[in-house]
Structures are given as structure tokens and as C-alpha cells.
Symmetry: C2
Subunit: 234 residues, 2 copies
């Protein structure tokens, strides 16, 4: 429906196929500015989009695909979050000091990412307060999520953490009780702060207990209520 309307009207924007609340808050001029200062690139599965510590040159808008946002240091990895399409990434690099990227981003699947010039983005934030208010909302939403994961990883033990991540994948990422997992067991480990072996053992335990059905990459949650109880009690 939206697409039909769009293809009929004057396309002020070839950029964003679907409307995104943040984009819609911009004026026509501002939209044109974004359009003129961004390019859409494709990344293959497993490619690195940007590296922690690098000077931030773009804001990334994930048009298609699945990526991980993570910290790496001396073979220790911590995945901060997963992101699906229609999400802005790299916002955390915007601040007054020297804006270096605080995390690395890489793809799980082939992805399309629109790279928006960060200076333009900053300029718009500084001139359009409705827009910047919306960005504040987005940032705070992400922060709340991070707090949840922080608590989970530091205060719960393996059962709870694995339940957390399975529920998260099901609810937020795949929006279905059964899904094909593009992440490896090692990635699940980086996501839950546990070793690959423990992930495997724990998942098998869940399977034996009838909580999930699992066949290599495909996973189905069978008993969500019980998973939620496990998540809650650690």
C-alpha cells in the first residue's frame, strides 16, 4: 500500500523505500540533504562494516540484513547487540569530543547499509530539534536494552542467560517461535558471555527438558512460559 502511493507520487527520495519515523521528521530540504550525502552499499555475510576506535565518518542505516555490534579485545568478544533492518547504527559515536566509534559492526547475512555522512547528520541534529528529540528516544531505548543485558550477564547464571538470549532472538529479532539461526554457537557464546562448549551443553539440556526443539541451525521454542521463568530466576 505504502509502496503504491510512493511510486505514484513524486519521489522526493529514492533512498528509503519505507517511511521511518526519524526520516519523516525531516523537512523536504533536509531529506534531500541526507539523500545527497549518503550511499547504499552491500556487504557480504561476515564482512566488517566498521571498526571500534576508527574515526567515525558515517551513520549507518541498515536497510537489509542482520549485523552484530560488538567489542573485541585480545580474543575476548562481547556482542553488545544484534540489529535487524531499519535500524540506525553508529549513533553512539556522536559526541562533542573526538568521535571515535565505540564498537565494531559486522554482518551475519548479506546486508545493505546506507552510509550517511556523519557531519550532515550532526548538522541536522543541531538544526532540527524534533529530529534530535527522536534520536534521543532511540538512544535511550537502546540504553535500556543494554542495561538489561548487563544485568543478565553479570547476575544470572548460564540457564538464565541462555533463556534470555533465546527469548530475545525469538521476540525481537526473528519475531517467531521458530527460526533459522545465522549465528554460530561461538557467537551465542559471545552474546551470553559463556564458552562455546557451555552453549552447546546448555542447549542440549534445554532440548532434553523439552524447552526447545533444535536441529543444528534451526531452533524452535516449545515452552516459552518455562523459558521466561528460567530467565527470571537466573
Amino acid at each position: 500500500m505504502n509502496q503504491i502511493i510512493e511510486s505514484k507520487g513524486i519521489s522526493h527520495c529514492s533512498v528509503f523505500k519505507y517511511s521511518h519515523s526519524w526520516y519523516e521528521l525531516l523537512t523536504e530540504d533536509e531529506k534531500l540533504l541526507i539523500d545527497g550525502h549518503s550511499v547504499s552499499l552491500t556487504f557480504k555475510k561476515g564482512e566488517t562494516v566498521c571498526k571500534r576506535g576508527a574515526f567515525a565518518s558515517h551513520i549507518y542505516f541498515l536497510e537489509e540484513g542482520l549485523v552484530k555490534v560488538y567489542l573485541e579485545e585480545r580474543n575476548k568478544n562481547l556482542i553488545l547487540m544484534l540489529s535487524t533492518k531499519n535500524n540506525l547504527l553508529g549513533l553512539a559515536a556522536i559526541y562533542d569530543g573526538n568521535n571515535k566509534l565505540p564498537y565494531t559492526v559486522s554482518t551475519y547475512t548479506n546486508s545493505t547499509i546506507r552510509m550517511i555522512d556523519i557531519q550532515i547528520f550532526r548538522q541536522l541534529l543541531k538544526q532540527n530539534s524534533e529530529f534530535s528529540f527522536h534520536i534521543i528516544s532511540l538512544l535511550n531505548e537502546k540504553t535500556a536494552q543494554i542495561y538489561g543485558r548487563f544485568f543478565s550477564l553479570t547476575q544470572k547464571q548460564l540457564h538464565g542467560r541462555l533463556a534470555d538470549i533465546l527469548l530475545c532472538l525469538s521476540n525481537r529479532i526473528f519475531k517467531s517461535k521458530s527460526f533459522e539461526l545465522p549465528l554460530s554457537r561461538a557467537d551465542l557464546g559471545d552474546l551470553t558471555g559463556m564458552s562455546t562448549e557451555s552453549v552447546i551443553r546448555m542447549m542440549k539440556e534445554f532440548k532434553d527438558d523439552g524447552l526447545i526443539e533444535m536441529n543444528c541451525k534451526s531452533i524452535e521454542l516449545l515452552d516459552v512460559a518455562r523459558l521466561e521463568r528460567i530467565s527470571e530466576f537466573g
Copy 2:
């Protein structure tokens, strides 16, 4: 110097004794609005300022004192951050959905907190983009800090985590190599994700190794370079 100028001129603001970058970005009218919709309250040591889950009614400006910002659930505590004077707290509650507080705040020392009406604050964010850009900066700075702690608590072991927190206290909070700690050992535990007993043992070990000098509540860092190395190799 600033104070002299201030006491001479017409005090448009009895509120903030010193200039704060965020406040200075407001217009005179906006400053008056803040002044008219905020009150300064004093809290005694150990009092709770606000509770996680409550509907957010204010933004808190810590004029004086030391507070902890934390998550609590079923006798599990996780301190997200410590905050000293001249910091804004409660910003994370600002988002479009139902804005509940994502954390609890309580005081370590007697504190003075200016409580600013959150609706007014939101209004200003929506109308003054220089201001909201600055707030984005602040939020991102805090986020970067949280990421650091997240990594520390999930990827390092006790030595590294304790070194981290000691360096943080010295650099960010007390800005001195020696300080009187208003936090208990249990609080250090909540801050580092370790048990009280482990905090005590680890601190004693650091003392025996000549890394710190310690006498109950007073602590002095003796070998910062080595602490940094411990922090790094965690």
C-alpha cells in the same frame, strides 16, 4: 571569578551557582522556565532518590554529593555508575513510550539534588536543538562508559575488575591518588560484580603486592602503572 561576576549582575538564576554547559545553551526564557519548574532538595546519606520502574517525573541535577545509579532485583545488585556533582541523572527515562525510570538512584553522602520537571525538560529538548544535541553528547558519553564496564565485568577476572574500579574511582570520581571511600566493601562488590569476601581478599592481595595502601576506608594508589597493566590483561 565567575562567582564575582555573577553576584554583581542581575541574577537571572538563583539556581545554578556555576555555569554548566547544558544550562548555558538555553535562552534566557528557557532558563527562567527551568528555574520556575525545579526545586532543590537535600538528601541524607543512604536515602533513595528514585526507584526503578516508577514513572519518571523529574530530571535530577546533582548539585552536591555522591550517588549510585543501580539495578536491583531479588537481592542481586548491579551498580551501573557512580555520579558526582554537576551531573544530570534520569535522562535515560526520556523516550517516546511510557517513560519509566530504568534504574534506582540513592545517595552515598549527604546530597543536594535539583529536581527539574521532566515535561519542561522534554519541551526544551523539543524546541532547542543546540540543547538537545548537547544532551545527545552527554548520553553517548555515558553509554561509552557503560560499554567499558560491561566489557570489564563480563570478560575480565577479579584482578582486572578490581584494578578497573580503583583506577576509575581515582581518575573520575575523586580525582586524586588517595581518597576516603564512602562506599562499603559490599558496594565495591556490586560495582565489580564480585562477592564482598572476594573484594576484601583481592584488596588485601593488592596491598600485600604494594599496589595500594589501605586502611579501612582510606585508600591510596601506589603503583598506577602496574594497576593499569592488571586492568588491561585482566
